[in-house]
């Protein structure tokens, strides 16, 4: 039998524990260990994305206190927040920079998982839930972009939702549901507001719970090369406190970087959207949509007898499904090694994204 608690802190803990049963979690925390090897640095990225997401939720909730979701008021309310409200500019700039950094880190996380083959059995559902989170995050980026109701966001949404309408068969219907009508109007803004502030974050929490639960259940994946060399004996450290303290350092660096960017390069607001004005010259989407945007520019009006944009959307959709199925397509050889093809595809995809993003930014 354990000794009765003596100190005030211990007595308080015993009181709380008797009512909430917190000590049941202790073995779970003790069980979680993180392998240490030359690729361990990539393990920090998932936690980093989680930290940035929490930052987005906090700054997003703060902006809800001033934002008004209608075509007439949205731009003015953001302008008011940026110019009149104390630290309003800081909150919005952190939200904008945090979103960009979150998507950037998410992409690095994705490629590190892909290249190090962390999707191998039994982690297929970790891969699926991760890709679900990527889709939701890009959805958050797309819907959030419209909310300030400025010229750039208006035309980006016209183009983005038009891409949905070129899907053969269901395209026009999907486009109408997305836009809440045939055109991008105040009704689209209301719809995107609902998606951005409640539907998508809610889904993110669900997928995140599954993702984190699976990571906890299966432990961190050890890259096949490291596993072979160490013959199953890889050194590890406890998640609490060793790894978590390193995580905290990363989060503080991320917060400091975002704060510095927000202060020195605050988010811009641009001009209020005018539904009866030409798209301005030099209009471009956010950098994370730049590669597909640039690809669409190169596609001819018709390709293999179908419109070029429809061709691009169909090919993109097929590649998306192939991407989802990588854990099943990348089967190990009988000796446990993997063919180099999927790693090559990963590097080729990375090269495509970098080159086309660069070309898009430069054009």
């Amino acid at each position: 039998m354990t000794a009765p608690p003596v100190g005030r802190g211990e007595r308080l803990w015993a009181w709380v524990d008797a009512r909430l049963g917190l000590s049941a979690i202790t073995p779970l925390i003790r069980k979680k260990r993180v392998p240490v090897h030359r690729h361990s640095i990539w393990y920090f990225l998932g936690g980093m994305v989680l930290f940035l997401f929490i930052l987005q939720v906090c700054t997003g909730v703060l902006m809800l206190f001033y934002y008004r979701p209608s075509a007439n008021e949205a731009f003015d309310s953001v302008q008011f927040m940026m110019t009149q409200v104390k630290f309003g500019w800081l909150i919005r700039s952190i939200h904008v920079w945090g979103a960009n950094l979150m998507i950037f880190v998410l992409f690095i996380h994705l490629f590190s998982v892909w290249i190090l083959k962390a999707y191998r059995a039994p982690r297929e559902f970790t891969w699926f839930s991760g890709l679900g989170l990527l889709g939701l995050t890009l959805g958050l980026g797309f819907t959030g972009y419209l909310l300030p109701w400025n010229t750039l966001s208006y035309f980006a949404t016209r183009v983005g939702t038009s891409m949905a309408t070129v899907i053969p068969g269901i395209g026009p219907f999907v486009g109408r549901v997305l836009r809440s009508g045939n055109d991008v109007t105040g009704a689209t803004l209301t719809r995107f507001y609902a998606l951005h502030t409640s539907v998508l974050p809610g889904l993110v929490f669900l997928f995140l719970a599954l993702h984190v639960l699976l990571v906890q259940q299966h432990g961190m994946s050890i890259p096949p090369g490291v596993e072979r060399k160490s013959k199953g004996k890889v050194r590890s450290v406890p998640f609490v406190p060793n790894f978590l303290l390193h995580d905290l350092i990363g989060w503080l660096i991320a917060l400091a970087t975002i704060a510095a960017l927000a202060v020195f390069i605050p988010a811009e607001l641009g001009k209020k959207a005018d539904m009866f004005a030409s798209a301005p010259a030099g209009i471009k989407p956010e950098w994370y949509f730049m590669a597909p945007y640039q690809t669409l520019k190169y596609l001819p009006a018709t390709l293999l007898g179908i419109p070029g944009d429809a061709f691009g959307v169909i090919v993109g959709g097929v590649l998306g499904v192939v991407f989802l199925l990588i854990p099943f397509l990348d089967k190990p050889r009988p000796d446990g090694t993997h063919r180099p093809v999927w790693r090559t595809v990963a590097f080729a995809t990375l090269a495509y994204l970098i080159v086309f993003t660069y070309l898009g930014l430069r054009s």
Binding site: F155, G181, F276, A279, P300
Partner: protein, 155 residues
């Protein structure tokens, strides 16, 4: 314990009480899910917007104010339209919605043509798609000039 049996009115085969209750529960739960999802899904689909009843508009701009080799956007009902005056002095009007991905086009005096800056699509002075990704020509409108006033109507 033996299960009481009855005969299916459809197939004539005997069905157990357990199977019947399973079927009843399954159908009820399925029905409940549909009863919840159908109204929610229908609610999310916007009601069909009525076709724009506008067939013709008289523009604020006068012919004398529209210089050759220039263009401007006008409202044609709920849709943006593009009015251009060619270098030769002709006045033409088109739907300003790019046939590629729906951006709003503009007149490009340097190239003497119509340009969509979103994906660098180009149209001729007749509205024909001549380069870049646009798959179709711009929808043309009829233009009538009555005593200096410009009237645009569906062609």
């Amino acid at each position: 314990m033996s299960e009481s049996r009855s005969v299916s009115p459809l197939s004539g085969e005997p069905i157990s009480r357990k199977r019947f209750i399973d079927w009843l529960l399954g159908t009820t739960i399925g029905g409940l899910i549909i009863a919840v999802l159908y109204p929610v899904a229908s609610y999310l689909v916007p009601p069909p917007a009525g076709e724009s009843s506008v067939n013709s508009v008289t523009l604020d701009v006068k012919l004398a104010d529209l210089k050759p080799n220039s263009g401007q956007i006008f409202k044609f009902g709920n849709e943006p339209g593009l009015l251009i005056r060619t270098p030769g002095g002709d006045v033409r009007a088109f739907s300003a919605v790019c046939t590629h991905l729906g951006c709003i086009v503009q007149y490009d005096p340097a190239h003497q043509g119509i340009w969509c800056p979103c994906h660098n699509g180009r149209y001729s002075l007749q509205g024909a798609n001549i380069s870049g990704p646009p798959p179709k020509p711009l929808t043309p409108y009829a233009v009538n000039v009555r005593g200096g006033e410009i009237v645009v109507s569906k062609a």
